[in-house]
Symmetry: C3
């Protein structure tokens, strides 16, 4: 969509300085922008990039000056840029076409304007909300439910009974609702513990490429509203994740972990089963959280086993000083021996 800088400033509730009639039709980086692309500057060190850009309209902090540009001034330029992008960029309107090669049983309940791509397979009793797009080669198992305005990219699997809220985006290769990893050993073999629970994904969730989310064993795996999950993440059975929590790439959350709201789980973090991360906790990338550990609200942890970040840093500093400490100890011993030999 094409707008003027004035309309955009108004939409963002921001102050405009310069020509309000400049056209804004897209977003770009300063180097790639054409005249009608919006750019932003968050930090003064990137001012020159903005000044040299072909873009005519720049989102910047109040008090910024870039000759020849129309400025939209706001305290949080990157945030405003993200909002502007969501406003400007064309959402491909759903084609509202069911491709003839898709398998859509008569039992499917499809909302208005649902699109289903080639070679999609729906089992019985699937429900798909209005304006949702199911891209090619997806599989939705028996009884799966997808809300309104969702987008399943190609090659997504929903196992039977998986439920997605509204405006959920799932990237290619993700699997939702697979069996959890649960066995009981007896009589010389592993007996599979029943994995017959459900998986419930809230609204406004985004799930990365190749990520796997297992169904509950007897209960539910629950992902709260607004949670964002990166690529190749593993979420085991019975995990609960609170609203707006971020899970970065390749993190692994073991069974029955309870993760609060607004938590950040860093990349490649490993969490043992039955951990609790209270609201606002942060586990930094690569950390390993022991089984059953409780991390208090707002705390930041690092290392394996995970400990408070300050403690980790202190311990790490001491380890770095170990050669020095050992040398001081050696000299003390030496002087003691020298005295004894006096």
């Amino acid at each position: 969509m094409s707008h003027t800088a004035g309309e955009l400033a108004s939409y963002l509730g921001a102050t405009l300085s310069g020509d309000a009639n400049v056209t804004v039709a897209g977003v770009a980086s300063p180097e790639r922008a054409s005249a009608a692309d919006l750019i932003y500057v968050e930090s003064p060190k990137h001012l020159a990039r903005a000044a040299q850009s072909a873009a005519r309209c720049v989102i910047a902090k109040p008090g910024t000056s870039i000759p020849g540009k129309t400025l939209i001034e706001t305290a949080a330029p990157k945030l405003a840029f993200a909002k502007a992008a969501a406003w400007l960029l064309p959402k491909n309107a759903p084609l509202a076409v069911i491709h003839p090669s898709a398998i859509v049983p008569a039992s499917a309940r499809l909302g208005a304007n649902v699109s289903i791509g080639p070679s999609v397979v729906l089992e019985d009793d699937v429900e798909i909300g209005a304006n949702t797009v199911i891209e090619p080669l997806c599989f939705l198992g028996r009884g799966a439910r997808v809300g309104e305005g969702c987008r399943l990219h190609p090659r997504v699997t929903l196992y039977a009974d998986a439920r997605l809220g509204n405006r959920v985006e799932v990237h290619s290769g993700a699997t939702i609702g697979s069996d959890g990893f649960g066995y009981v050993f007896g009589d010389g073999r592993h007996w599979k513990f029943p994995q017959i629970g459900t998986v419930e994904i809230g609204d406004d969730v985004e799930i990365g490429a190749g990520t796997t989310i297992d169904r509950g064993a007897l209960d539910s795996t629950v992902i709260g509203d607004g949670v964002k999950i990166d690529n190749l993440v593993h979420i085991a059975h019975n995990v609960k994740i609170g609203a707006r929590t971020l899970i970065l790439a390749q993190a692994g959350i073991s069974g029955s972990c309870v993760i609060g709201q607004d938590v950040i789980v860093g990349g490649q973090v490993g969490m043992g089963d039955h951990c609790t991360l209270q609201d606002g906790a942060i586990v930094a990338s690569g950390a390993g959280v022991l089984t059953g550990k409780v991390i208090r609200a707002g705390h930041t942890m690092w290392g394996t086993p995970a400990r408070p970040l300050e403690k980790f840093k202190e311990q790490y500093a001491w380890v770095s000083r170990l050669p020095e400490l050992a040398e001081r100890l050696r000299k003390l011993e030496e002087r003691e021996r020298a005295k004894a030999g006096d």
Copy 2:
């Protein structure tokens, strides 16, 4: 299937107390159970949950008392529950239907009651055993063989010549038989080392969603009977894994590792190439095992580089005490200086 508590106790070889005619038709958690669902109590602290459940039949340890419930008493309630679930829960009988959109060449050898879902693609000379279910969107390369009673969930790839035993379950997005990562550098480029070996999966193996198992380079990658592999695990070329070993989520096993029977490889463990894990060894979650390392039977290892668990704990305890040790050293030095200044 519906049974009586008496029949179930008899099947399990367990003692029944209470009404043997209570119907048992499914399994559930105490909170979700209806009257006909079976529940279990492993630990006394969950007795109240069981007592409050709508379930009429409870598997519990001998000597347990829960008023109003029919008890099936056994020393290992969770194990008995898993066995009961396998006995009670309906296995969807294979539909024994080949979907018309599946590509099934005339060269395919299909056992009795094989089911093949929509958009499945079989290359030439594939063999599939009786009662096996190939769900939608799977690919089976030339010469692949799948045993009897297997289930390939949607979107599984078997590369050419991959072989699966009987009763193997493979979850969505898994890839079996991909080329290993082997190159030889020369003349300024990486030459691919031939990856033309095979991959052989035993009986009763379960393979998690998104897991990748590479074929051998010149020899075979071999997964033994009863091995259970979690989600997003990477198993490289030429790896051998013994019977009943468990590999937890996101573990990575480098080329030519030899893993014994009844081993446990924890989540996100990384193993360098040519490691040996003898029978019953345990590598705890997040550990990193150095190339060529041999871990003896029954040993438990942790950390990177992996060392015996007790040693890891001891070292970690000392690191935690480093600030104290440094302070004691400082005071010794101070007192020495004070004396010297006397």
Copy 3:
């Protein structure tokens, strides 16, 4: 293809000793080889394996003697073996067939001898170069471009506008061009930062099963020529990777990292965003590189946080000696107290 040992030696520029007319038709390990298979011996300890093999032709180092075998002598037998394999092993000539179940819009630009398998889906404006094979169940989004002589194994996704060079091989389940993980928090929610950049893969790249490569946010994700990427690797938005770099299994490269040429990133390595690995750097398996870190050309790093390998080893050795140091400290204190008590 079948050749003589003499032709092979000539192709490799190597010295032949023995019968130059021996037929060489394939490659194998010594144990699996038939008479017409080529084998190699890199290290003297494997001479006996070669001697016992049915193979009649062996690549070995100059001066090696194996009675009864034709020897092709070269300083780098494994390299020569890889080259020989590439020369001998049949490339399945592309069938040059578009399967009728594939969705190929009229807007597709297909080079000569392109093969497209069953249930492949091409969106509009896709370009595929000559002799490229798109195996079943792949998806190529709008505007995707694939060069000549490429092979996409089954179940590969290219998002819109993804570009692959020539002779690129992508393994099953890989996803190229998915949205990066970028959000800006404001007004109580995560706003998606636009992920509208591109992904550009060079020539002679191999990408492992299940690997995910995100498109740039506003700019490009770029993978250089000859890069080899193992299974289940995560490469985030805006990452640049130089020529011939190797990325091992399950490594995770965060956003905007710049990786030079001939770098090795070990298995399960995690890199924070905006790291720089200069040419020839090595990050050993399992290491964690902090955000913004610069690793100089040719350096080898290990540990979390990653530090020079020698430093890591030194620190680790001191940690192992901590119990001893603590005991020496204790004894010093004891002797001091004893003296004080004199």
